[in-house]
Subunit: 408 residues, 2 copies
């Protein structure tokens, strides 16, 4: 059973003035499911994005980078599921560009004002004969209220749509933040994950929005992992329409810290939603590394634990075989780590210290924590001042089933 939080009801999802969404069933891979999403963005909005660091990045990622470099205002995003358009060479680029051109024609904008996103199977070409007819249908469906349907349209192996939304008052302005994400496998974002989109009706200056999208991705999507497989298609975009009246031009402006904190919080909820719905997940695991000497070593230790199949299967079994966590800490590559100086906690239970099992630790305590569906592993290094948290899930039979059967 995934560890999903309740899906937001339509009443909990606040539209973002200036952002409209329309979906269609184009039959890209399967019939009778929403698989195309068109997002239009009002004139005057800022848009910024970060993309996968995978060298085999998908054609749409390459086209997003090209279009953003040209510097023109982004006016639309086009998403499809069912085909990642990755590992598709020159034809893949042609297809991604043709999708943008068709959207541009429909909307009366330029092709480089459109950003394309794809998710699904790698090494297969986009079925343009089915995708292109879907675009006018998605256009006909455009509405500011269609966030739920948008979250559904980008799902692949996700079991629930992922949409989070909040409103907050900053100064005199009521500001809305709403976003969607998708992904349940091939998840270890390296800059951002496939298909995260976060919109606000605050105005944020383009250069600042570009800085924020990196910083916020680093604290949210870049801190989750399901299986360590960094996707070819990871993409995270932020949209700031300005319709609320709040205007932020610099990090020193009144309201900037509150807005950034709220954007980060929603991005973290969307990122954690990927792990909660991780393929086969039965546990939601937060791995907190404290007092590290550097962010590099904090991340190395957190990810070594998060990616260890032995740790993940023990958590699946609710078996406090906690030596496996020490083992992962030991091979994380921190060369001068003195293992006698660190402490390992499971929630608030001190498990290991001074290089071994703590004398007061009882197996029943570990067992009690492991039976929960949400667990925190905490490693205190006593090497410096850096803290970080990585979120992951366990490794279950269903992960194997889902990925052995993915294409069938």
């Amino acid at each position: 059973m995934p560890v999903n939080l309740p899906v937001f009801t339509p009443a909990q999802i606040h539209p973002v003035p200036g952002v409209s969404l329309g979906t269609a069933m184009a039959g890209i891979r399967k019939a009778n499911r929403r698989d195309v999403l068109l997002v239009t963005i009002a004139e005057g909005a800022s848009v910024a994005g970060v993309f996968t660091q995978n060298r085999f990045c998908a054609a749409p990622v390459q086209v997003c980078r090209e279009h953003l470099q040209q510097g023109a205002a982004v006016r639309a995003l086009v998403f499809n599921t069912g085909c990642a358009n990755a590992g598709t060479g020159a034809l893949g680029l042609d297809n991604a560009r043709a999708s943008c051109a068709e959207v541009a024609r429909l909307l009366g904008v330029q092709a480089h004002q459109v950003l394309p996103f794809s998710t699904g199977v790698i090494l297969e070409h986009l079925p343009m004969d089915r995708l292109l007819p879907g675009l006018p249908k998605a256009q006909a469906d455009l509405a500011e209220s269609h966030w739920s349907e948008a979250a559904q349209a980008i799902m692949t192996t996700d079991t629930v749509p992922k949409c989070r939304s909040r409103q907050l008052r900053i100064g005199d302005h009521l500001v809305t933040i709403t976003g969607i994400s998708k992904g349940a496998g091939m998840i270890r974002p390296n800059m951002a994950t496939m298909l995260g989109m976060l919109a606000t009706d605050a105005a944020v200056a383009p250069a600042l929005l570009q800085a924020w999208v990196r910083e916020i991705a680093e604290d949210s999507f870049n801190r989750v992992t399901v299986d360590g497989d960094t996707s070819t298609n990871d993409s995270f975009v932020m949209i700031a329409t300005g319709r609320s009246g709040l205007r932020i031009d610099s990090p020193a402006d009144a309201g900037a810290p509150e807005l950034k904190a709220a954007l980060t919080a929603v991005a973290q909820e969307l990122a954690q939603a990927l792990v909660r719905d991780g393929e086969g997940a039965t546990k939601f695991i937060s791995i907190r590394v404290e007092q590290a000497g550097s962010m590099d070593e904090a991340k190395a230790i957190a990810y070594a634990i998060a990616h260890s199949p032995l740790v993940k299967t023990a958590f699946f079994a609710s078996d406090p075989n906690l030596g496996r966590i020490l083992c992962a800490i030991g091979y994380a590559g921190v060369q001068d780590l003195a293992v006698e100086q660190l402490e390992l906690y499971l929630d608030d239970v001190l498990v290991a210290a001074k290089g071994g099992r703590h004398p007061d630790y009882l197996e029943e305590q570990g067992q009690a924590v492991l039976r929960q569906s949400e667990i925190t592993i905490r490693v205190v290094l006593h090497r410096g001042q850096v803290n970080t948290t990585v979120w992951t899930c366990d490794l279950s039979h269903d992960y194997v089933s889902i990925n052995a059967d993915y294409r069938s």
Copy 2:
């Protein structure tokens, strides 16, 4: 079903003059199974070892390093299964040293001439009240012919004992090489794997043997991975007794290349045996990276493929979802990799080139290769002259079952 090669019969296993082996059932973790192995080594032999790079290395690994540093001739090895004596702090060191002292007392040698090895659960203490009484029983069982029983005594989740042996003529001398190994999970050796031992009756000068043990481990145990989890206890020892009459003092000596090649070949068979019997394995996968610019990048790409849960589950399903291999190549961390320039082969089938699927590649071809139980993935980078091979297995339901139930 594991992809094991046939177990060597006693008739195929050649004793190594100067090496005796004795086993006992000490009930360390389970009753009625061999779980203690004592190996005695005749005077005049050279012994060298390499050990895990895990910072949480087990107490016996620390004691092995201490004893080898003292430089006295090693006269005995003592192994136990059922408890790794890792994550056990000061008491763990005391217990490992006490085991050596007891062996030394029984054999009339010094404690620092004994090397200890343990494998099993981490974070638990050695049951000395059961281990110590097992040692005289193992001593009473000592014989040069007991290699099969020795291989059985060091098994944990292994489904078959792992022993390989060969004889070859070098110059005027008939030389014997025989070794054992164990391990099926927590396998990504980093210097050597838990409990590999290789003996020959050639004489090899101690400094040369120490160089060879590193080089041979690098080409054998350091090229296999099951789950990427580098154990706390990895240990690989080589013993050269000199009884055959062949004497090698320098790599330039007559017979040195033949001897080293034969030792490497047996070490590779023992290392591959770990993967063939990898926890839950149903496929034996060789990942060959050719024409890399450096060994670092060749290894990075090979291990990225070998550790990808998505690649491993696709192979388990015999599903040629080969975009997952490209994805892993892409995130291996080779920053300037031009993906348009590499080729991906499955056995002899060209799957991808020029950044995408090869136009002649047919799904049925990939399917035919994937149905085999032994498969080679070949990546040709065209960046330089370095080649390497890593051996791994697939990820199946049984891996999850075995590791979810390991302690029960």
